[in-house]
């Protein structure tokens, strides 16, 4: 059965109840663009403003979404055989009893997989203070590349108190799927 068959055979009510059960506030799959990113950020921000959740948490969620979208925008990978066009990505924002979850996924070159994995593993073991020091040091050193400096990853780790998990799933000799699971606690 193809993905399309599976999609067509799924009752929308089943999808709807699943979305509600998971308290999914927002989900997106496709190709990020500058205009689309702005609309997504605006939409999520407005949704969060309607909640009673602390401003600190709301802003952290939006900040993480901003970084995640821009990370995917700059690193989207062309997929020739994907019906959604080049560089398919996914973003989901959900609410739990303990906070918010931001999940992202995008394809990456296997060449960049190692450095990405290494950078995230290095960040994962840092305390909040060490993360802040790493961030300030990165800014001080003028660390920057055309597509960003890895500053976005440090920023996301800081804003989530390092509640960030990543996974790389090898798809082919050329590609892996890079997933991030970020938790923002109340």
């Amino acid at each position: 059965m193809t993905v399309m068959d599976s999609f067509c055979n799924t009752d929308p009510y089943t999808i709807m109840t699943c979305v509600q059960r998971q308290r999914l506030l927002f989900s997106f799959s496709g190709n990020p663009s500058s205009d689309l990113n702005a609309s997504i950020i605006d939409h999520i921000e407005k949704q969060l403003r309607t909640t009673e959740d602390p401003l600190r948490v709301q802003k952290r969620v939006v900040n993480i979404v901003i970084e995640a979208l821009q990370n995917m925008y700059h690193h989207q990978h062309p997929l020739e055989d994907c019906f959604t066009g080049d560089g398919s990505t996914i973003l989901m924002v959900g609410r739990t009893s303990g906070g918010y979850i931001v999940t992202t996924g995008n394809y990456v070159d296997n060449d960049s997989e190692l450095s990405l994995d290494q950078r995230l593993r290095e960040l994962e073991i840092l305390s909040d203070i060490e993360l802040r020091e790493r961030h300030v040091a990165a800014l001080k050193s003028g660390l920057r590349t055309k597509k960003g400096a890895g500053l976005g990853l440090i920023e996301m780790a800081r804003r989530s108190n390092n509640n960030i998990q990543h996974k790389l799933t090898k798809i082919s000799n050329k590609l892996s799927f890079f997933s991030l699971h970020i938790e923002i606690k109340f």
């Binding site: 901003i66 970084e67 300030v136 800014l139 400096a149 440090i154």
Partner: protein
Amino acid sequence: MKTETVEHNELELIIKSTAQTPLIKYSVENSKLEFIGRSIPEDVAGFYEPVMRWLKKLALTKPRRLKVELLLDYVNSNSTKAILDILKTIEKLKEAGTITELVWYYEEDDEDMMEFGNDLLYLIKTPVKIISLSETSFDERTDASKLF
């Protein structure tokens, strides 16, 4: 060597705010440079390049004083670096004799933006005043910036 001269009225600066970029405004009358709104563009270098160019023009006039106010609700990671570059350029003005004042405003309860202001203190030599604004005052000023 050709010396470039800059008339005072050439120094007026207004870059209108958008959904992703802040209002950037310089008033010759009060020697005040303001950044109001949010700085989350994808092309950070392209957005801030005219500001860096304008700062070089300002430096030629050897201004006696300069007040810089930053009132931002969201700043993406690449903008952080660009803003830091701008503040470092302003530091050079200070070293050349300009009396400079930097003010970083944040919305009360937004601990991350307060921390950002404190991080700036580590990164630049010029003292930064860090001021908390109530949600209402903060929103009023950011909303007003959208009128430009």
